[in-house]
């Protein structure tokens, strides 16, 4: 039955995460951006919340709690409302863990899931984006040749989140008959990791470039084993997750602009009383509402195990455009103050611009 009502648990998650993000993430956002790094303690402090581990079955050492994509979307919105870059970093390990959880063989689950159920923050990353223009997740230039004893991967990947500290990479590559995902150890022969890449936004989050020169992968390290996996499903999940982050970011911009515009005086009254500003705030709000519904819809589609390719694409198309529009107009509302780094809006704009063009940076 069609319903927009959160469960009590979801409301609880929303409230706790909102508070946590406000107190623990927002205050560090600017500093991490200026220093282009995130202190380990910070990552650890969030790790202790168990965002990744709790949803892993007990059999693999996890908290065995039910996983709801919708709840996770709500959680991501709130974390990003605190700080989008930090939010991206703290949930990064789930990219890898969830892919294994959803599509790994029993052996793969046994081998990799326990890594994420430890005390210490543990990173492993998806490698989807490729260098060069017009990179498409399902049309990778990276190739996986079948060899009698497994696979040989050649190509390059870019924007691999936390690639500098990841123990493993899940690399998407083209095979004879489609697209596959392959698990690589960071020490694999022929794999060169260059980190950190320098990006426009999300500076705190280190991303790496991977160069693969005929890297050998054993057949059991192909995600899903013999049968392979549905890379599209991984892409859909990450698209919706990124949309949830961009939604939280947009709300942060709007909520920053509201009090600012009420304080800021021009032509003898607060600029918030000018229709050009007031209407823009109204449109920012309209878009936040619209974005959230698209995110929820795609997330619930994933939650119900249906193919979410269309829903995820519609959400991505809409949210990418509108979230950047909101951030860009946030700068305009602040005028000169929107352009200087004493206010967070220019930073959120860079984050939005960055997050809206990459793929596979987060997961539900």
């Amino acid at each position: 039955m069609i319903s927009f009502g959160m469960t009590e648990e979801q409301e609880l998650v929303r409230d706790t995460m909102r508070e946590f993000a406000r107190d623990e993430l927002r205050p560090h956002g600017r500093e991490c951006d200026e220093n282009s790094s995130i202190p380990d303690e910070l990552l650890q402090s969030v790790w202790d919340l168990g965002l990744t581990s709790t949803q892993i079955p007990a059999a693999y050492g996890g908290g065995d709690e039910p996983r709801s994509m919708v709840t996770n979307a709500i959680l991501l919105e709130e974390l990003a409302h605190g700080d989008p870059a930090l939010a991206l970093a703290v949930v990064a390990p789930s990219q890898f863990a969830n892919a294994i959880l959803d599509q790994g063989t029993e052996a793969q689950k046994k081998k990799y899931l326990p890594l994420f159920c430890t005390e210490r923050f543990h990173a492993a990353s998806l490698a989807i984006v490729e260098p060069g223009p017009l990179s498409e997740p399902l049309a990778p230039r990276t190739v996986a040749e079948a060899k009698d004893d497994g696979w040989v991967l050649s190509g390059s990947k870019s924007f691999v989140v936390l690639g500098d500290r990841a123990s493993h990479f899940l690399v998407v590559a083209r095979t004879e008959d489609g697209v596959g995902a392959f698990i690589l150890d960071r020490d694999a022969e022929g794999l060169t990791i260059s980190a950190p890449e320098l990006n426009m936004g999300l500076k705190g989050v280190s991303t790496a470039r991977l160069d693969l020169e005929r890297v050998a992968v054993a057949s059991e390290d192909r995600l899903g084993g013999e049968a392979g996996c549905d890379v599209g499903a991984i892409v859909n999940g990450s698209r919706v997750a990124q949309c949830a982050l961009l939604l939280g970011l947009s709300r942060a911009v709007l909520e920053y602009c509201i009090p600012y515009s009420k304080d800021r005086v021009a032509f003898d009254e607060p600029i918030s009383k000018k229709q050009s500003i007031a209407f823009r705030l109204a449109e920012m709000h309209m878009e936040c509402e619209a974005m959230r519904n698209l995110v929820w819809r795609a997330a619930s589609c994933l939650e119900q195990g249906r193919d979410a390719t269309r829903e995820a694409r519609l959400a991505r198309t809409y949210v990418n455009e509108k979230s950047v529009w909101v951030a860009d107009n946030g700068i305009q509302v602040l005028g000169g103050h929107g352009f200087i780094r004493e206010h967070p809006v220019e930073m959120w704009f860079r984050h939005a611009r960055t997050l809206s063009v990459v793929e596979g940076a987060a997961a539900l």
């Binding site: 519904n293 694409r313 809409y318």
Partner: protein, 392 residues
């Protein structure tokens, strides 16, 4: 729990509505080209249709899923055509006002009539507080005396009666505005002409004139006690109805936009242009990429409208959401229908197809029931915690 799957029963109702809509659509062009004609009470196909398509039982009035179902059904009806129906709906906007703000007796007496709602005046547009049609009580005869002009009265020709906005005291602004029930044929109540419009031509939109029109005292919507209420029984009553009518008008426009998208999708398929939801800008055809963008706008707007309805069903406040729904849909349907024309080219402006009509029809969405600008004002006031005086 957040969920977007309609119940089986709803799906049945939607399916039936779609079949009915397709029948109605056959008449859409005729009543657009023949503006003066009035679409019939019921179509020739009606009997046969009803026989072959059993009614789907609606959830009880109390059922919270009712508004969402109604909202989606509205989209589907308008997806068929703006005006033509198998059975013409008897209710007008005034009926919504009646059930929201009317007294028990009034609901009894007027409930079965088709009630139009007359708000806009030649001089006032989207600002109801400027209503200048006057209502004066004649204590001796216990009658209200009405004087003034109204325009853009939806279903104004067909309606049996009208819920009329008039002021008891212009200086009191909103506080002075009340609603009155006026029956057609009452002396002094003229229906001069049907307006000629860009779209929704089959739909009757009338201009009314009231000259010393006398109605019984009890025709004040909500009864005498509303007079006491300053700022403002009548007005609040209507505002209350707006919380449902705003999403409803959004749904009407979205139905038309959905028809435009479906038509365009079919034409693209015929032209051999594939819509690939996985492809990027480097491998997707421009027409397909444009289409996906329009589709995403529709999806967003549709969900936002359903949400406003869902809140109403839950008895939760939805004033902001209603304006978000109406404001978003107003821009959305303009972008979508026009975008479809851009995609299809010359075919989009030919009256051999309905796309150009849907484009004209849904242009009203951003205008009536409060223009897009008014919706933004309402939303901004909510965000900034401003009164009407602070921001207008």
């Amino acid at each position: 729990m957040i969920d977007f799957t309609p119940s089986e029963n709803d799906e049945k109702a939607f399916e039936r509505a779609r079949s009915a809509a397709l029948v109605c659509r056959k008449y859409a062009r005729h009543y657009d080209e023949n503006e003066h004609e009035m679409a019939p009470e019921s179509l020739p196909e009606t009997e046969e249709f009803d026989a072959s398509h059993p009614e789907v039982p609606p959830p009880g009035d109390g059922d919270s899923s009712y508004p969402v179902r109604m909202m989606r059904l509205t989209m589907i009806n308008y997806w068929g055509d703006y005006t033509v129906r198998l059975h013409r709906e008897t209710g007008g906007l005034g009926n919504a006002a009646l059930s929201a703000a009317g007294t028990e007796e009034q609901r009894q007496k007027w409930g079965d009539l088709c009630l139009a709602m007359a708000i806009t005046e030649p001089g006032c547009g989207s600002d109801p507080s400027r209503v200048s049609t006057s209502a004066v009580l004649d204590e001796e005869t216990n009658e209200w005396i009405l004087n003034g002009e109204k325009i853009f009265v939806t279903t104004g020709i067909r309606a049996d009666a009208v819920v009329l906005w008039a002021t008891l005291d212009k200086s009191a602004g909103r506080g002075g505005i009340k609603s009155f029930l006026v029956e057609k044929g009452t002396a002094g109540f003229e229906v001069p002409h049907k307006e000629k419009k860009l779209g929704i031509r089959a739909d009757d939109t009338a201009a009314y004139v009231f000259r010393d029109c006398r109605i019984p005292r009890e025709n004040l919507l909500g009864g005498d006690e509303t007079v006491a209420k300053k700022d403002s029984g009548g007005f609040r009553g209507v505002m209350k109805t707006f919380n449902m009518t705003r999403p409803l008008t959004a749904a009407m426009g979205l139905g038309l936009a959905e028809a435009a998208l479906d038509f365009t999708r079919d034409q693209l398929r015929e032209a051999g242009v594939e819509i690939d939801y996985s492809a990027g800008l480097g491998t997707q055809m421009a027409a397909a990429e444009k289409f996906i963008r329009l589709e995403s706008i529709w999806e967003a707007s549709c969900l936002t409208t359903l949400q406003a309805a869902w809140l109403a069903g839950e008895g939760k406040p939805n004033n902001m959401e209603s304006s978000v729904s109406k404001g978003h849909a107003g821009s959305a349907v303009r972008a979508i229908t026009q975008g479809c024309i851009e995609i299809l080219g010359a075919m989009g402006i030919s009256r051999d197809y309905l796309l150009e009509k849907w484009t004209r029809d849904c242009r009203i969405t951003d205008i009536y029931e409060g223009t897009g600008e008014i919706q933004r004002l309402i939303i901004a006031r909510g965000l900034l915690d401003y009164t009407r005086a602070d921001l207008n």
